[in-house]
Structure formats: C-alpha cells, structure tokens
C-alpha cells in the first residue's frame, strides 16, 4: 500500500495538515473490517494465540494497577465527583455489616475508564458507519457497546515512556507527543509493538499536575498527544490504547477529537486517565516494557464505557 500523506508527514517529522489527518481517518478506517463481529472492534485482533503469548509474558507475577483511586473530591477537573456513601447495619448476636453506595460518571478526566466504540463520533458518523442519532438513547446504545468485552480483554501490553525519551519529567502544553516520538521511544526502549497489542503511552501526568495546582485538565489547554500519533496506532494494528494524558487540547486544527478519533475510525477502545507512573517505574526495574495486560469492564449492557482497573502482570 502506498504511503498515505499523513504517514509521509510523520516519516519526515513534519506536522501534518488538517486535510491529511481527516483523509487518513477516512482512508484507513476499519469500518466493515470485522463483519458481524464489529461490536468488539480492534479487539478482534486479540486471538487465542495472542492471549496465550500474553500469558507467557508472566514470569514473576508482579502486578501493577493502572487505575487511579475513584475520585470523590470535587475539583475543576472533577466536576462530577464519584459518590461514595457508607452505611452501618447492626445484626443479631452483636454482629454487623458495613455497606456502601457508589455512583460514577464513567467518562471525563479523572476516572480511569474504558471508552466503548459508541462513545465519540464526528460528522461522518460513529464506529462502523453507525448513525449516533439512531444508535444511542437514554438507555444506552445498540452497537459498539462496552459489553462487547464482557469476557475481559487479555493481551500483551507495551508501555512507551515519553518523559524518559525526552529527558523531561512531563509533556507540557505546546509540545505534544508526535507520532515519530512513539517510534523513537519504541526503538530506544527496545520494545516492538504489533497487531493486537495494548499500547500504553506514559506522559508524566502526575508530575505535570504537581506543577499545575494538582490538576491535569481543569479546562483547556491541557497537554497530551498529537493527531500525528494516529498512523502509529493504525499501522501497528493496536487493539487497545491507554494514556495518562489525552489528545492535547486545543489543537491547531480546530478538531474536537484527534487521537480519540481512533475509537470511531479504527475501532480501538481507549483506556482514559490510567495512572502510568507506577507501571513506568516497574518497567524500568524489570528492564522490559512488555507485560500481560488484563482489563475487565463491568458488564453494562448497552453502555458507552465502564470504570475499570487494568492490571499489568510481569
């Protein structure tokens, strides 16, 4: 296949135009690619063989969570805090029970969650060519829903460490992560990325927050990844993407979604707001940047996403 202008731009380390980004999303779209299994999107790339290979990466059974604590405190970046209420019940014989209620707005900038394929769209429609106005109602969506992953997602995970590549603690505003940097990071870390992998990109969100009133995205601008990262995802046939930072905003194109377009164009589910600092440390200690990744979304029929606790196992 001839190189797309967006791929050429990345190869030349040139920032692409909006037209190149938009045409790439159309030309390299995965709509129809998985036929009647389209609901699960790019996780169709995770075959039984892929899972077996992922399991073989477990050597020491060291486990690292990539989930933040569910955030109950209201802040400007957490305008819909998680609700967590306690109840204490006395029982007969001096026993008792403690119970809780929890309510979670699954999306946004603070809850670690998985985006289902129906979650975002542009004027051309939502994942696999569906019409969001027909697909989504108040009781959820018909297609591209989170229960496509009821049996969990188990695959090989690979982490790219941008602060390590750049020699700086975090990705700042005005200097987003470009596609060629992902390639450089993979090369420097000596980790291959391939079909069916979960790609996690660490941008140093905790350090950024420390330098910015404890918050990452109290409003725009916030730093993150650039649209030029899209070919790295698509050419390598990544099945799941996770980032501690999101698409940088605003972007020079005036586009609502750049990186998030992988959801509706490529069918790649995103793990948003994962915490990757502990995993980056573990990778450095273990001297390897791949591991088994497990994601077990709650079984929300017709759901647009779910709070999750993705676990990396070395």
């Amino acid at each position: 296949m001839a190189k797309h202008p967006l791929e050429q731009a990345v190869a030349q380390k040139r920032v692409p135009t909006r037209a190149e980004v938009e045409s790439y999303l159309r030309d390299r779209s995965n709509w129809g690619r998985w036929g009647d299994k389209g609901n699960a999107g790019a996780t169709n790339l995770i075959t039984a063989e892929k899972r077996l290979a992922a399991v073989k990466l477990v050597k020491k059974a060291r486990m690292v969570s990539t989930s933040r604590h569910l955030p109950t405190e209201a802040t400007l970046e957490n305008p819909q805090p998680v609700q967590h209420y306690m109840k204490k019940l006395p029982w007969i014989d001096g026993g008792g029970a403690a119970l809780d209620y929890m309510g979670v707005f699954c999306h946004g900038f603070t809850v670690t969650h998985i985006d289902a394929l129906c979650h975002v769209w542009d004027r051309n429609g939502s994942w696999d060519g569906t019409d969001p106005n027909k697909n989504i109602g108040f009781d959820g969506a018909d297609y591209g829903t989170v229960d496509a992953w009821s049996d969990g997602i188990i695959t090989r995970g690979a982490l790219l460490d941008i602060p390590k590549l750049r020699g700086k603690p975090y990705v700042p505003n005005g200097d987003p992560v470009h596609g060629w940097e992902l390639e450089e990071a993979a090369k420097k870390q000596n980790v291959r990325v391939g079909p069916g992998d979960a790609l996690l990109v660490y941008c140093g969100r905790e350090d950024y927050a420390k330098a910015n009133n404890g918050m990452y995205a109290p409003g725009q601008p916030y730093p993150g990844l650039h649209a030029s990262c899209l070919p790295f995802i698509r050419e390598n046939d990544i099945a799941v993407f996770g980032g501690d930072m999101e698409d940088c905003a605003p972007n020079e194109y005036g586009m609502g979604f750049t990186l998030h377009a992988m959801i509706f164009a490529f069918g790649v589910p995103m793990l948003d707001n994962v915490i990757l600092e502990p995993l980056a440390k573990a990778c450095a200690e273990e001297g390897r940047y791949d591991f088994m990744l497990t994601v077990a979304p709650l079984i929300l029929k017709r759901g647009t996403g779910s709070a999750v606790n993705p676990i990396a196992v070395f």
Partner: protein, 309 residues
C-alpha cells in the same frame, strides 16, 4: 467435627474462634488470605492452554426483581458541549453492590460477628462515614491473580440445582473435588457452582424468591468452613451463598470465613458458563483474575472476575 456429621452451633462458633487467622499476616493484614497467593502461586499462567476467557459476572442488575429491590442505576446521555461536528455519549452508573443481585467482591471489613471485625478490629473505630480504615477493598488494588478451581454441585448430585432442604456440606465439596480430580490448595480461589440460574428458572426468575431479605434461600452450609480453612483457600466465589436461614439462627454461616479467616468472597457470580467450559475441557482448574475498582475505604466493589483457560 465428626466425619460427615452436621456440626452444632457451638462447634461452628468454636471452630471459627480457634482457627481464626487474626494476626497471621501482620504488616499486611488488610489483604487477608490473599497473602497466601505467593508469586509462585500466581504462576497460574501455566494453566492457560487454550487462551480462552470467560466472565464470572452477571450483567449490571438494573431490572427490579424480588431479589433486586434496589436496582443498580445506569443511564446514558449525550454531551453536546464540544463545538462543531464532534460529539460524545456518556454513562452514569450507581450501585450498592452488596446484597443478592450484583456480582461483587466483599472487602474484609464488610461484615463482622460478636468477636469483632477481621483481624480483631473494632467496627466502632474502623468504620467512618468517609470509608473504612482497615480491611477495605483497596487492599487489593493491584488485582488478584491465582489458580481457580471449580466444584460443580449439580453435576455431582445429578440434579439441576441445590435446594433449600439440601444445603451443600463441607464433606460434599471434598467428594466433588475427588470426583473432578482436582485438589484445592493454599492460595487457591475456590468456586462453588450450585445451579442458581436453573433454580431461578423454576422459581419465578429469582433465587431467593421473596421480596425482602428475610426470605429463605438455598446454598452452602456452615460445615463448608472446615473445607475452606483446612485447605487455606484465599478466595471463595459462589452463585448461591450461605443457606439462609440456617438451623443455628446465626446471621452468617460461610460468610464467617470473611471476618474470621480473612477469605475474600465473590458473591452472586454467574458460574454456569464456567461450568460448561470445565466440562468441555475436562478439567476444573484455570487462571483467575479479579480487578476490583479502586475505592479508598470501600467495603466492596462490583467486579467482573475472568477465568482464563
């Protein structure tokens, strides 16, 4: 307890007190019997032969039924705050996960008996309006991975499900394990399948069958406590739970394993699909992964445990 004889209430209470694990894992007591899952134990990865995964969770229980009187909430809404042609749809979910409808994990602080909470803690001190200070669910924030073992009671009994009049006894679990050719070991996650779906199909769609907590339902007998403790089981998952009420008039039976032994409980699982996989593969062991949500000070979490075979 004499061989194959139903223990008395005094037997049960004395056993729980004598065999309690309080203080056993000092330093990391909050995690309880999960301390039995050593790195060697987590090498359960070697059990994976096919690369097949199966969920042990029921769907998010939004439908009101006799056993789901406070249904979980789930609603979807569009967000139109973005300019231009880019839009998104979002979810809110709410749940009180304990009870009999939701697949969830019990933190060790969730219940206690007359002697106190897990590890001898005092509920008056440990439970605050803002969360529990000891034995909370975030003790397992890095997830639980271990060997899982399924015991299939309907298959053993050649009956579709367990009934109230014939609870599952501890010695029966031993018989089933022998029959399946699988020996539960320290640090294992033990799953007991009792046929809850088939029972519900025959009883108006529910397992407890009554509109309040004070109904009666079939399940496991307190004599199972011996089986669990003797083998140092770390995690117990079940579709039916304690038989209730029991002949002892105590408010907990096998749930005593939570606060006396520090055993993790996975309640209201959906085990029928796993039982089918085990029959298909002709083996009753697999790799188990559980990843509770990270709720600081929480008494539990909805969970979707995954078996990998």
């Amino acid at each position: 307890m004499p061989e194959r004889q139903v223990p008395t209430r005094a037997d049960v209470e004395a056993y729980l007190r004598q065999k309690k694990n309080w203080g056993r894992w000092s330093g990391n007591g909050s995690a309880g019997a999960v301390n039995l899952i050593t790195p060697e134990k987590r090498a359960a990865a070697r059990l994976v032969k096919r690369g097949h995964t199966v969920s042990l969770s029921r769907p998010w229980p939004v439908t009101p039924t006799a056993e789901n009187v406070r249904p979980a909430q789930h609603c979807t809404y569009h967000v139109d705050e973005l300019d231009g042609d880019w839009k998104s749809a979002h979810d809110y979910i709410g749940t009180a996960p304990h009870g009999i409808a939701s697949s969830h994990i019990d933190a060790l602080c969730h219940m206690w008996g007359p002697d106190g909470m897990w590890d001898g803690r005092d509920p008056a001190k440990e439970i605050t309006p803002y969360g529990v200070r000891y034995g909370a669910v975030d003790a397992w924030r890095d997830g639980i991975v271990t060997r899982g073992v399924l015991l299939d009671v309907p298959r053993h009994r050649r009956k579709p499900y367990v009934t109230y009049d014939a609870p599952v006894h501890g010695w029966e679990l031993a018989d089933i394990a022998k029959e399946h050719g699988v020996e539960p070991q320290p640090g294992d996650a033990l799953f007991v399948y009792s046929g809850r779906e088939a029972f519900a199909n025959d009883h108006g769609g529910t397992w407890c069958g009554h509109p309040t907590w004070l109904g009666r339902w079939a399940g496991l007998h307190a004599s199972c406590l011996w089986f669990i403790r003797e083998r140092d089981i770390a995690v117990l998952g079940w579709d039916m739970m304690d038989q209730y009420p029991n002949e002892y008039c105590i408010s907990f039976g096998v749930h005593g394993a939570l606060f006396y032994f520090g055993v993790v409980l996975l309640d209201n699982l959906l085990l029928e699909p796993l039982a089918e996989v085990c029959v298909e593969e002709g083996r009753y062991e697999f790799m188990l992964t559980v990843a509770p949500l990270v709720i600081s000070g929480g008494t539990g979490s909805p969970a979707n445990p995954i078996a990998i075979s």
